[in-house]
């Protein structure tokens, strides 16, 4: 019976995921003014490293077309169910609904998950296949960048083989992120769907120059192109002193030498490879990212009574979503700021008993947008602990290549815009090029470089980003939608979280929650325009506008790319050159459209799409 209930939640027979066949009213544009309009007005899609058509899929959810919403996602990001759980959500940071005076951003990420969760159980995936090219591509690394590139390259007709040193594909998705944030059955299904179009996975194969390893040189010989997506597989080292107990012999990193201290990444990798891990009663975590948070939450599940995350700056400045911080705190994790670890305290048996910190004050802002922490001389203090996890970052490992490639100052492989390294036919993508980033950045870059490889292999550009323009007959939102509060993501009770590492904490929004949340989206891809030739300047639209979004202007600046720029507003009627909808202020409520007596306001939908040239 439950299966039938599931069927009722979704549309009984979903249409093809692709937009309906283009008729005469749909146009595709490469005009910089149209591309510029989208860049200015659809901040979520521009912020998404994969370029996901966010208003498009949210509108589909609003219409309860979950399968279609899933497919719209999949056009840009082949792992929607995964990213709907673990994405860093750069889109929500810029969501117009979160701008001052507009309230809180839309739960874009969780809606993505809703599309994956609520789609028909027999949902049909749509893929547009090119004819076989006869070209072979090897991909080193089966993480998100590698999988995204493999999927796109296989669609483009190339024969793709992924080589991965681990037993299964997924990279950090499988070996870095705990199952309570990313269930393995979801991971398995989405990876399978991404790779089943003929991608061969050679798991447990190490690329390198050692015994039994496959050399990169041989891959270059046997394949037409090679893509390196080996990610950031090593923890960034932290220079700590060994303060007491056994004399510090120098040389080896104390974090590696003291039994109760470990790099957070190594801990998670070992745990997810199946190694049995234990923690002490008091756990200290040093670091400010998702790895630090994951270590702390795993430690609580493994029985630690006290888990404290120690920050160099303060909670306000760490690059982790507020929800993640909140859930960690709910599980009993404490977060304290303004301290930098300087040494490990061990007893006579070499067991960890504490960490020595120095007090910090906040400094200025670093070039990367992070806060600086300045240690205060003579302010050292000790925090007792039995286990320490250091999670201050990740870095690439490139000694397996045995090739003389150009590297940047962090040791990442240098690559051009299309992903080509300094060696012909050898490409690189994801964290292996950009350093430690996020899953969505890796997916986005993998996709982009896949197109670069295709262009290089085929000798011409076959797919291009364009703006799809389509008239819309009436407003798609109601003003009342603007007052819907941000919906919550249901979670399991705290007492159920301590029963192992597998139980997913966030349970997903049901149909009602997802629908309500989807209604909050302003659908910023809708462009409202006034035809000033038909406007009778009755001001009815200005009267009814809920915001200062319709303006009397004397002039409109033209940007370098030809798109419209700043408005020169005027209040004197005799100097009014036009009445103009300020799309920055417009919340697409449709009130102006409905009140206009001359029907001089039009609505069109502008979407960024990748299309055959």
């Amino acid at each position: 019976m439950s299966a039938q209930k599931g069927l009722l939640q979704s549309e009984p027979d979903e249409p093809d995921s692709a937009p309906s066949a283009d008729n005469g009213s749909v146009y595709y544009s490469e005009d910089p003014r149209d591309l510029g309009w989208v860049a200015e007005n659809v901040p979520c899609q521009v912020a998404c490293p994969a370029g996901t058509n966010i208003p498009g899929y949210i509108q589909a959810i609003m219409e309860k077309q979950y399968g279609r919403a899933y497919e719209i996602n999949r056009e840009a990001n082949v792992l929607p169910g995964i990213l709907g759980r673990v994405c860093s959500r750069p889109c929500e940071d810029v969501c117009r609904h979160g701008w001052p005076e507009n309230g809180e951003p839309v739960r874009i990420c969780h809606l993505k998950r809703s599309a994956a969760d609520l789609k028909h159980s027999g949902h049909r995936i749509t893929e547009s296949l090119y004819t076989p090219s006869g070209k072979k591509v090897a991909i080193v690394g089966g993480g998100p960048a590698g999988v995204a590139a493999a999927h796109d390259l296989s669609l483009l007709g190339h024969d793709v083989t992924i080589f991965d040193r681990e037993k299964e594909a997924g990279g950090m998705l499988r070996y870095g992120i705990p199952a309570f944030r990313l269930p393995r059955d979801i991971l398995k299904v989405e990876l399978h769907n991404a790779l089943r179009l003929g991608v061969e996975l050679k798991a447990g194969v190490c690329i390198g120059n050692g015994d039994g390893q496959v050399t990169l040189e041989s891959l270059r010989r046997d394949f037409d192109a090679v893509l390196l997506t080996a990610g950031c597989a090593a923890a960034t080292r932290l220079q700590l002193r060994r303060e007491t107990g056994e004399a510090d012999e120098g040389g080896e990193d104390p974090v590696l030498r003291v039994a109760d201290a470990e790099y957070g990444l190594d801990f998670l990798l070992a745990l997810h490879r199946g190694e049995k891990k234990t923690v002490g009663r008091r756990v200290a975590v040093v670091g400010a990212g998702f790895t630090a948070l994951d270590c702390s939450r795993v430690a609580r599940r493994l029985g630690a009574k006290e888990v404290i995350i120690h920050l160099r700056t303060a909670e306000e400045y760490i690059p982790v979503s507020k929800e993640e911080i909140f859930e960690a705190k709910r599980e009993g994790v404490k977060i304290v700021g303004l301290r930098t670890p300087v040494g490990l305290i061990t007893d006579g048996n070499g067991r960890l008993t504490g960490v020595k910190f120095v007090q910090n004050r906040l400094g200025g802002w670093r070039a990367d947008g992070r806060r600086q922490a300045i240690p205060i001389e003579g302010s050292e203090f000790i925090e007792k602990c039995d286990t320490l996890f250091v999670a201050i970052g990740q870095k690439t490992v490139n000694d397996f290549m045995g090739l003389d490639l150009d590297l940047d100052r962090w040791g990442n492989v240098r690559a051009s815009e299309d992903g080509m390294t300094s060696m012909e036919g050898l490409f690189a993508a994801g964290d292996f090029v950009n350093g430690s980033s996020t899953v969505i950045e890796a997916v986005g870059h993998g996709r982009k470089v896949a197109l670069g490889i295709d262009t290089w292999l085929m000798g011409r550009v076959r797919r291009k980003t364009m703006v799809r323009m389509e008239p819309v007959e009436k407003p798609l939102r109601e003003r009342s939608f603007d007052f819907i509060p941000r919906q919550h993501m249901p979670t399991i009770a705290l007492n159920k979280r301590r029963k192992g590492l597998e139980r997913e904490v966030e349970t997903g929004m049901d149909v009602d929650l997802a629908h309500e949340e989807a209604k909050r989206c302003y659908l910023c891809n809708l462009k409202y325009q006034i035809d000033i030739d038909n406007c009778i300047y009755c001001r009815a639209c200005i009267e009814v506008a809920p915001r200062d979004c319709i303006k009397l202007v004397r002039d409109v600046a033209i940007n370098e790319d030809g798109s419209y720029g700043k408005l020169e507003e005027i209040s004197e009627w005799n100097q009014v050159g036009a009445i103009w909808i300020d799309n920055d202020e417009c919340i697409r409520c449709g009130a102006c459209y409905l009140v206009c007596p001359t029907r001089c306001i039009s609505i069109s939908r502008l979407e960024l799409v990748t299309r055959d040239v």
Binding site: A314, E315, F326, K329, R330, E331, G337, R361, L362, L494
Partner: protein, 343 residues
């Protein structure tokens, strides 16, 4: 004629009002505006337990008569929510979109009762005690001789518990690490102080982990607290007292340094020369301890308000913590705390 200096004070608690008073004394000509989210004039939070002794007229709690503000040319803006402070433009933005420019601003927004994240699911079944309105709601819900369950039990809560006991209510305290906050009581001394609470008539429940708060069953008190070991406590109201967290959200875009509270130097000036902070909202740099720290209690907060105002008018004096900070027992075994001392 030069324009007078506009000093804006956010918050109308002890620190804010003392600061306004001091500013007026030291600069008779300056313009002073106090902004508060609340609807009432300044009243003494320490007087709120009087509500349970029969006081139900808020006017009896006021520290100053309403005419005080007019007489001292202090503009009091009530029911006004600050949503942003723009340090570059020296402007405060209110929720209703009005902007107010300032020359100097003093943030005295205080602290909000902290509810541990693990109990957040049950917030709707508990009652906060931060305002006169909160106190009236609790009084209405409590039947004569009813039972109050205090979770945590910081010094604000224990102050209220004294009144509850004196006025004939039963009080059960679910003690944990937050009990006696902000005092840092050594684990081995907790028993002694908890015994003092028992002597005061408070039933101390040093139980296990709280699983949740539920509505009471039919014919039972309105609430029940459920523990992980299956034990259940019934009560008419459940009040969380887990200390304070600084109310700094509206300052996040200002650019001043914030850790938990606004970070200020010993003169109570933030990292922006025109933004000052005093009271529960700020962490003050302690050169002796090489760290930022909070100072709590009526006397400290009042002194901070005064010190900030003096420094805003050029005094250049560091804030001095005048009183002790230790929890102690008198010769009769009664609990004494500087946190409870007030005018």
């Amino acid at each position: 004629m030069a324009e007078t200096e506009h000093n804006v004070i956010i918050g109308t608690g002890v620190a804010g009002n003392r600061a306004a008073e001091t500013l007026r004394e030291r600069d008779p000509d300056c313009r002073i505006t106090i902004i508060t989210l609340g609807s009432l004039h300044f009243y003494n939070r320490y007087s709120l337990p009087k509500v349970f002794q029969g006081c139900d007229d808020w006017r009896q709690l006021l520290v100053h008569p309403p005419s005080y503000y007019e007489e001292n040319r202090i503009t009091l803006r009530r029911n006004t929510r600050v949503i942003n402070v723009d340090a570059k433009r020296r402007a405060v933005t209110f929720a209703h979109n009005e902007e107010m420019h300032y020359d100097q601003i003093l943030v005295c927004s205080g602290g909000r009762g902290y509810l541990p994240e693990g109990l957040s699911d049950f917030a709707g079944l508990m009652h906060r005690f931060t305002s006169f309105e909160d106190a009236m709601v609790i009084r209405r819900l409590l039947p004569a001789g009813g039972r109050v369950i205090l979770l945590g039990g910081d010094m604000i809560g224990l102050d209220l518990a004294r009144t509850f006991v004196e006025t004939g209510y039963d009080v059960t305290l679910v003690a944990n690490d937050f009990t006696f906050w902000p005092h840092e009581v050594a684990r081995q001394d907790r028993g002694t102080y908890e015994k003092a609470l028992t002597n005061m008539g408070i039933e101390v429940h040093r139980g296990g982990r709280i699983l949740g708060v539920e509505e009471g069953g039919e014919g039972k008190p309105a609430r029940r607290v459920v523990f992980a070991d299956g034990e259940v406590l019934d009560g008419d109201v459940v009040l969380p007292f887990f200390g304070l967290v600084p109310a700094v959200e509206f300052m996040l875009g200002s650019g001043v340094d914030i850790e938990r509270g606004i970070l200020v130097n010993p003169h109570l000036c933030s990292t922006d020369d025109h933004i000052w902070a005093a009271g529960d909202v700020c962490q003050i740099w302690s050169p002796e301890k090489n760290t930022y720290r909070f100072y709590y209690g009526w006397n400290n907060v009042r002194d901070m308000g005064e010190a900030a105002a003096r420094n805003m008018t050029g005094a250049g004096e560091p804030f001095a913590n005048g009183g002790g900070e230790d929890l102690r027992l008198d010769k009769n075994g009664r609990l004494l705390s500087p946190f409870w001392d007030h005018d």
